[in-house]
Symmetry: C2
Subunit: 278 residues, 2 copies
Amino acid sequence: MEEKNNPKIIVPRRRFLTKAGTLAAGAALGAGALGLAGPFSSESEAKAQQALPKRPWAYKKLDPEKVRKDGYDIFHNGRDCMEGSFAAIIKSLAAEVGHPYTIIPCELAYYGGGGGMGWGTLCGSVNGSCAAMSLILGGHDNRKALRKAVNEIMGWYSTAPLPTGKTDKFGKYGKMVQSVAGTPLCHASVSNWCKESFFESHSPERSDRCARVTGDTAARAVEILNAISDNTFVAVYVPPASVSKKEGGCRSCHGRKGTLANSRGLMDCVKCHEPHEI
Amino acid sequence: MEEKNNPKIIVPRRRFLTKAGTLAAGAALGAGALGLAGPFSSESEAKAQQALPKRPWAYKKLDPEKVRKDGYDIFHNGRDCMEGSFAAIIKSLAAEVGHPYTIIPCELAYYGGGGGMGWGTLCGSVNGSCAAMSLILGGHDNRKALRKAVNEIMGWYSTAPLPTGKTDKFGKYGKMVQSVAGTPLCHASVSNWCKESFFESHSPERSDRCARVTGDTAARAVEILNAISDNTFVAVYVPPASVSKKEGGCRSCHGRKGTLANSRGLMDCVKCHEPHEI
C-alpha cells in the first residue's frame, strides 16, 4: 500500500501496515455440524417455531441494584463481561415480564468478554448493555431513543471512575481503587486500572474489578432504560472538546462536512492521537 | 487522578483525563414503558413462552457468496453493519435449518452500526459476525472453538484489504479502492479507507464500502463456521510482532506474566502507541 498524494491531507499520519489475510476457499453448501446436532432433534422442537411478538415489547422498570449484583454474579459464573451485563438485564426482564425475554439465548453475548475473547476492543460490559438496550427498545425502528441510550452509556463508561463503589459491599476485595477508561475500549479500561491499582492484568483482583464494572454498567443501562420509560431521560454525558465540531475540535476538520471529512467516531481523539497545530 | 509512583512503570505514558460521569438516581421498581406496551398483549403470547432447544443446536453449512450478498443488502436496507452481518448469517440459518434461528430477534444487533451508533469502537460487521458465531457455537460451553473463530475473524478483518473485491459485481460503484484497517475498530477502518480513496466519511461511496465490508465479514465468518463444522479449520491469521510474548514484543513485558503485566488485548499495539526502547 503506497502513500498517496492527497492534497487534503496536510498533517503527517502514521501508516498502517499491510498484511493481507488469506481468504479460505469458499465452502460448499451442505449438511455439517460444528460439533453440533443435525437439523431437528424432535418433532416437537420443529413445531415450536413461532413468531416473536409484535413491537412494541413489554418493559417493566428494573431495580438497578439487583441488576448490578446479578451482573457481578453472572461474570463470576464464567460468563464474563458481555454475557454478564446482557444476561443481568434480559434475565431480570424474563422474571418480571416473561415472554419474549424468556427465549433470548444469552450465550450469543459470550464472545464479547475481554473486548472480544481477549482482543481488548469494545468493553463487553458496554457491548452487552447496548445489545440489551437495542433488543428492548426495538433497534432500527426506535433508533432515536436507542441512539440517546447508547451515547449515554458509552460516554458514562468513558468518563466515570470505575468500579463505582456500589459493588464494594459484595465484591471480593472490599473497597477498590477506581480508574477512568477514557474510551469504551476494554484495553484502555483494564490497562488504566492496572496502572492505578498496581494489580496485574490477569490477577484475580483485576477479574473482580471487571465483574464489578459488569454490574455497574448493566445497572447504569437500566437507569437509562427506566428514565426513557418514564420520559424523564436527560443526557448527562458531555463529549470532550476533541470530538467537538466547533473550531478547534478535531471533528471540525475530520468529521462530516469538515475540510478533510476523513474520519468517523465519537471516542476522545487525543487518547490515541497526538494533538497537532492546524 | 494523580500520577502514581509505580516503580514498575519505567516508560512515559499518556495520562487519561478524569471526567466523572454522573450516576442518575436509582430508579424505583415499577411498571413502565419505553414508548412500549404493557406486560402481555394477548393470552396466546403469554402461553407462547417456551424453552430454547438443548445444545448442541443444528447447523447447516451456508454459502458464503449468498451471505455476502445478504449482508450487503441488509446493510442498505437501513440495518447497518452489525445487524447486517448478524442477520445475514442468522436468517440464512433460519431458512436452511428453521427453529431456533427463526426466533432470534436480529434488532438486538442494530446498536453496533458505526462501531456503536457512530462511536467508532468495534466494527459492527465484526461484532455482528462474532455474535452469530457465539450463538451458533454455543458461547461459554463451546468456548475453545469460539475463541478460534473470533480470533480468526478479528485478525482477518485487521489485516485484509477491504472490501475484498468479491462485492464488485453487485456493489453500487463498481470496483472499489481497498484499505487495511490495522485493527478491528470502525474508526481506523473507515478513516483508513477514506484516506486511501479520498471519499468523505459520510459519503454514499463510504456507506457502500461499509455495506460491502458487512457482506465480506459475514461471508468470512461463514467460511470459518463451515470449516469448524467440517473439522478442517486451520487458523490463517498471524498476529503482529507487537503482540508477541517473545522478547521484544510488547506483551513480553505488558502481558500476562510480563515484568509489568499491566495490559490486556490483542490489537496491534503500534497502531495507537509509539514503539519505545526498553
